[in-house]
Symmetry: C2
Subunit: 419 residues, 2 copies
């Protein structure tokens, strides 16, 4: 066994041991750890900022892009937000122990279906130190031991945050191994972790498509992922055009860099001549580049031509592809062909069109007369979000605490045997 | 593109197309197809038996083991059972469309969480032709298109069953591509299918550990599996020994070849001297080989010695490993170390011991004072079972129709936008 294999084996064994105790830890103990961690993060703000300053300096020296350095950078306000984030998790209900079903069979067997933690969760993310505290807290509250593996640029910050949280865990009477940080950016460690079948119960990668694809290529453990958000808004023939304009502008402009922002606007031919010029003007005024198909460019000639590739591109930027369609059917087919099963909206006053769109569009969330930007744990009222799943298995859409759990059956008998 | 790649691409495209229509098919239509399939299977029994006779002849000529030939063989009674199985699926409730949650946010957005089909499911199984009808029916009722890949020895039988079902699907107004059979035993086709990311939503392999491991090695698509059942019964210090004897004999003897049969008996030292001789005598009388640790062999010297390997072995046969433990704690640790997270039982009159065992043993189903043999869809009252999952993600324990579904969110608004 190489030194690296030994390191990973130790990490995994400690995580499993910690997860077994954590799985049956009372809510008060978990909340105690989170409350203490919040206080310690605030109290040790200077230590965290010093570690972060080193990361930032190294990143700048390495010529890391400014946007990435920005996400990497902590300041007093962000440290405070990190602590407040932990307190918000304290306020959330504990999903563990919830009775999902309880029934009695004719032979007298009573069967309970109980929500339990998943076990050991590997969180993989990019250079955003706040995710360390956030992910550790959500795993802890849901009774799972976390193995955290953040972007290499943020390693010093992450180690500092983890060490503060470890103190709080110990103070609250929980194992500090409930939230371990992978202490090396070595990719070989990641490869070993992703092949730790039976040792890690779930991996959740958070980041760009490149990171996700790299994880999927290596993983032999279950992964819940979020590939990309190629989100559509379809303006139906019967749409209230004022409402449609307001919603589409919001879907594109309110925060174009995120996964649930609109990337393609589909407009029914019956309203295209009225709708396209007015929304195009507002989008252009907001600095948005428009890429249209031939029919939309006949109506708004100032648009750039859209290529076949545009229809399946997640711009994450102020760019919008636009297409005129002849029917609801054509809109649904376009989304089936090019969409990413993330968030898609219809704008319509026709209830049956809304129903049909919602039934036939195979996305995590379908929106009727509202913005795709609402596909979000906080907006759904979940109070926390560890990611948005574009998978269909186990969890779909916003993932909060219940999505970090599984269930077990407990069968109570008094000597029943099978015939 | 090779001929084989073209064949697989066609199979996948047809499955996706079929799944989209099937996902919104009304219950009556799906039930109609199943009812017609049952009638056609009975009416065309001679055709099915003729195809099966060829499979059996070839299998015998190839020197396939007798037990496998037995599972492969159809007769009039088994054909009738296959048809009755389809009728049982008709009688089950349709899980699709169930409203799992429905709430309204402060901004007026109404969010529905609706049960929907998963999409395209790949069923992989061994040479048991009845699984073809069974799996196709469960996928159909839950709104999923099935791609069926049975053992090569049963290919003629499977093709005949599939063709009869395809006629029924068409007659009922559904696409015959709702249940496609892979028409070649070529392993390269299987490899292509297991790498069809985004084209197949879920693979469910059913069979021995070798099959499952081969699937896991190749798969880049989600798999729900069942590795093995190393099931324990722990006789606590406070157990009712008459009840414990009855339950343990049932867990071991009633059907030793299946996954939920007991493989290891753990007995608390306080009752071992009384309990072990009496149960050992009955097990031996039933032809069961006993393999004990040193302490149990001091009490019942006629046992064979258990090796370290025995504790993690799924015998699927009339063999039982036996160990004396000093405490509930030691029993729980033994199960954590050697168990397969399938089905484990405690026999006790001490309620707190039962609660602790149920909370700490991390298995799909935990049994208190009853037999592990009850871990089964029919016994749980699910009315159908497509397998028992030892995974923790998406589905755990017996998998029935609801476990073949996922969910989507439908968000109803009237122009809400995000601030």
């Amino acid at each position: 066994m190489s030194e690296m294999e030994k390191y990973v084996a130790g990490l995994l064994d400690r995580a499993r041991q910690a997860s077994r105790a954590l799985a049956i830890a009372p809510t008060a103990k978990k909340n105690g750890a989170l409350t203490k961690a919040a206080a310690r993060i605030e109290a040790q703000s200077a230590k965290l900022l010093a570690a972060n300053a080193e990361d930032v300096k190294a990143a700048q020296a390495a010529g890391i892009p400014a946007a990435m350095v920005e996400r990497l950078t902590l300041n007093a306000k962000r440290v405070k937000e990190m602590a407040d984030g932990l307190r918000q998790v304290v306020a959330l209900g504990d999903p563990v122990g919830e009775v999902l079903a309880d029934w009695t069979r004719p032979n007298g067997l009573r069967i309970e279906k109980i929500r339990v933690p998943i076990g050991v969760i590997l969180m993989i993310y990019e250079a955003r130190p706040n995710v360390t505290a956030d992910a550790a807290a959500l795993c802890l509250k849901s009774g799972n031991a976390a193995i955290l593996r953040g972007g290499k640029e943020s390693l010093r910050s992450n180690m500092a945050i983890q060490s503060v949280m470890a103190e709080a865990l110990a103070e609250a009477g929980l194992s500090s191994d409930c939230a371990q940080m992978v202490n090396t950016p070595d990719r070989a460690v990641m490869d070993l972790l992703l092949r730790a079948e039976g040792k890690i119960d779930l991996a959740i990668p958070r980041g760009g498509e490149g990171l996700i694809r790299a994880v999927m290529e290596k993983a032999r453990i279950p992964v819940i992922k979020h590939y990309k958000g190629v989100c559509h808004s379809y303006v139906d023939a019967s749409a209230d055009l004022d409402l449609a304009e307001k919603v589409c502008l919001n879907a594109k402009l309110q925060r174009p860099s995120v996964c649930n922002a609109m990337e393609t606007l589909l407009v029914n031919a019956k309203v295209a001549k009225e709708f396209l010029p007015r929304i195009a003007a507002k989008l252009k005024a907001a600095g948005c580049e428009l890429r249209g198909d031939e029919r939309s460019r006949r109506i708004v000639p100032a648009m750039n031509p859209a290529t076949e590739e545009d229809w399946s591109t997640e711009y994450n930027a102020l760019i919008l592809s636009i297409r005129v369609v002849d029917s609801l059917e054509e809109a649904i087919e376009h989304i089936a062909r090019y969409g990413s099963q993330h968030s898609d909206a219809i704008l319509t006053r026709d209830e049956s069109a809304g129903r049909e769109f919602a039934a036939r569009v195979d996305s995590a969330a379908v929106f009727i007369n509202t913005s795709t930007r609402f596909n979000d744990g906080a907006q759904f009222g979940f109070g926390a979000e560890i990611g948005i799943s574009t998978d269909k298995l186990h969890a779909r859409g916003p993932m909060a605490l219940p999505e970090l759990t599984t269930y077990k059956y407990i069968v109570h008998g008094n000597g029943q045997v099978r015939d």
